[in-house]
Amino acid sequence: MGPARRRPGPRGHGRGGQGPGVTRLRPLWWLTGPLAVVLAGVAGLAFGPVPLPPVAVAAEMLNLIPGIRLESGLDEREVAVLLRLRLPRVVLGLLVGAMLALAGAAYQGVFRNPLADPYLLGVAAGAGLAATAVIALDGPRALLPAAAFTGALAAIGLTYLLGAAGGRERSPAALILAGVAVAAFLEAGQTWLMQRHADDLREIYSWLLGRLATGGWSDVRMLLPYVLVTSVVVLLHRRELDVLTVGDEEAAGLGLHPRRSRLILVAAASLGTAAAVSVSGLIGFVGVIVPHTVRLLAGASYRAILPLSMLFGAAFLMLADLIARTAVAPAEVPIGVITALFGAPFFVLVLRTHRRVAL
């Protein structure tokens, strides 16, 4: 991060001299996103710890369409496995992945920092501390989403205040540093709580490593409204994000309200992150790796980065969850472990092959 670079010019991010708004996006890339989602979704439905014949899976899927009634040959428990456990889990992976990647992309734009993601800004740590407190203090588990959301907003608020403490000029680097400090502080509190409540360690730990394992459709229903609100708000601000990358003065010169746009975007991204985190636990790396990969592949414009991040984030998490539930079946691997294990090397690979447009 280095010392604050207050006014990065058009080249400030080292984007290889590529100005914002210059869309390199070729039509081909628009196809890859939806294709990745469909392939990951089909794979997620077809495979699992309980082997189900692909034909039967396809038949049950078609049965979801009103008016169609096919005989799949699955027994009652297998149908429950497919429609009430596997399908909602795949959908949940789609929503959480899309949300974390979109939030990461939005933070990176708002804070003009390629490293910004829900983790570095303390958002996830805030949600984590609040959720840990609910578990450790034996609060009702129904409070978990609300607590995680409150913790996330409090954390980003704190980060914002601390980052702004240096003066009226908010430098992106100061914000990130504040986020790191806030995250460290909140994680310390969480560690302390965990030590005081060793009985709850398994539950807390399981949550901290992320899981799409349990909720079923109720989690999907809980998450969906937040995903819609966040997506609409962030996607509507895609132009502002492009302009913000050139700096506040330039943005103001173009007739925008940089501070207002920032506030709206941060609130929306935090809302989406908190909602995702509250149902899935902490799943790292999606928010930073996916937008970067998209940027390296498809160019620097947020008009491309935002929607493609959502699609690739969804595909990435659906595949990560497929691995999480099949790699050591019938046991589970925490999905956070998978996203880190596969995400980080994959990212390095993309970075190496596209070095000229790196960061």
Partner: protein, 308 residues
């Protein structure tokens, strides 16, 4: 009960003998003075050597606390960890067996420390302070538990043989009274709502195995890489369709027959349909002390109810 009998034994011991205790704290009532009637000190067990009967025992393991009181060594126990809650009236402190602190432990001037985990080099630290430490890690079998009880008996001067015989006999009888079945019943043993379970290689799994039950979690940790405690996949559990579900996460995590039945897809399971969901006492289910009989009884009662 074992506890009452142990206390009677202890009272008898007190009546007879006297021993000066060099390290009792001043506010302590007349030090429980005794030399073991049956135990000839010095003794050496499990790498610990005691020159004389310990009078200031610190137990940092809830199981060890239960065992110590059951064999009659309770009055010698001056401090127990924050998780020890049985029997009632144990001298609870804020000492932690999970984050043991050598200084805080030594402040109790113990002449014997019993702990279940050698975390953060605590055994070495206490040994450096010349405080004898008996390590009693989670038992892997009933025989392993019995060995620990006997060793604690030897170390404290209160032989545990009678207790071991009694508990062993009771468990054997409970198991022997079970109806014969053509097909063994299957079960899922839940440690937490995140679907952590215990395989047959664990203490509790082995115990349930004695009751003739088949553990559906066994394939999830076939090579014991997860130490016998795998996190199960929900799809797999629904498909495995156990006949019985045992909940060891009732107190910790507010699970019940109702919450289990409400989980998506679980209503298709035999155990849920036939209402064979057994709420266990979390503490009893996670310790390897004398109350293990209560655990076996809860299991065998449930098994007996399933029509053969």
């Amino acid at each position: 009960m074992a506890v009452a009998r142990g206390r009677r034994t202890l009272a008898a011991i007190f009546a007879v003998v006297t021993l000066a205790s060099g390290c009792a704290s001043p506010d302590e009532p007349t030090p429980p003075a005794a030399s073991a009637p049956s135990g000839a000190f010095p003794v050496t067990v499990g790498g610990v050597t005691l020159g004389e009967r310990p009078d200031r025992i610190v137990s940092l393991s809830p199981t060890a606390t239960e065992v110590l009181f059951a064999i009659g060594a309770g009055p010698q126990v001056v401090a127990v960890d924050d998780q020890s809650d049985y029997p009632s009236g144990v001298p609870v402190t804020d000492l932690s067996g999970f984050q043991p602190n050598a200084e805080a432990i030594s402040a109790q001037s113990p002449d014997l420390v019993v702990i279940a985990n050698d975390i953060n080099g605590i055994v070495k630290a206490l040994t450096t302070l010349r405080i004898p430490v008996y390590l009693a890690p989670a038992a892997t079998s009933l025989d392993d538990a019995f060995r620990q009880w006997r060793e604690l008996g030897t170390l404290t001067g209160h032989p545990a043989d009678a207790l071991v015989t009694q508990v062993g006999t009771e468990i054997d009888k409970l198991v022997a009274d079970l109806p014969q079945r053509a097909e063994p019943l299957t079960y899922y043993y839940e440690l937490g709502p995140e679907l952590y379970s215990a395989t047959s290689t664990t203490f509790v799994g082995a115990l349930l195995g004695r009751a003739g039950l088949t553990n559906v979690a066994d394939p999830a940790d076939a090579n014991a890489a997860a130490g016998g405690y795998p996190q199960l996949n929900q799809e797999f559990l629904v498909k495995a369709n156990p006949d019985l579900i045992f909940l060891a996460d009732v107190t910790c995590c507010a699970q019940s027959a109702a919450t289990v039945a409400a989980r998506p897809g679980w209503d298709t399971m035999t155990a849920v349909r036939t209402k064979q969901i057994v709420a266990l006492d979390d503490d009893v289910a996670s310790r390897w002390g004398p109350r293990v009989v209560d655990l076996v009884r809860a299991v065998t009662d449930a098994v007996a109810k399933v029509p053969a």
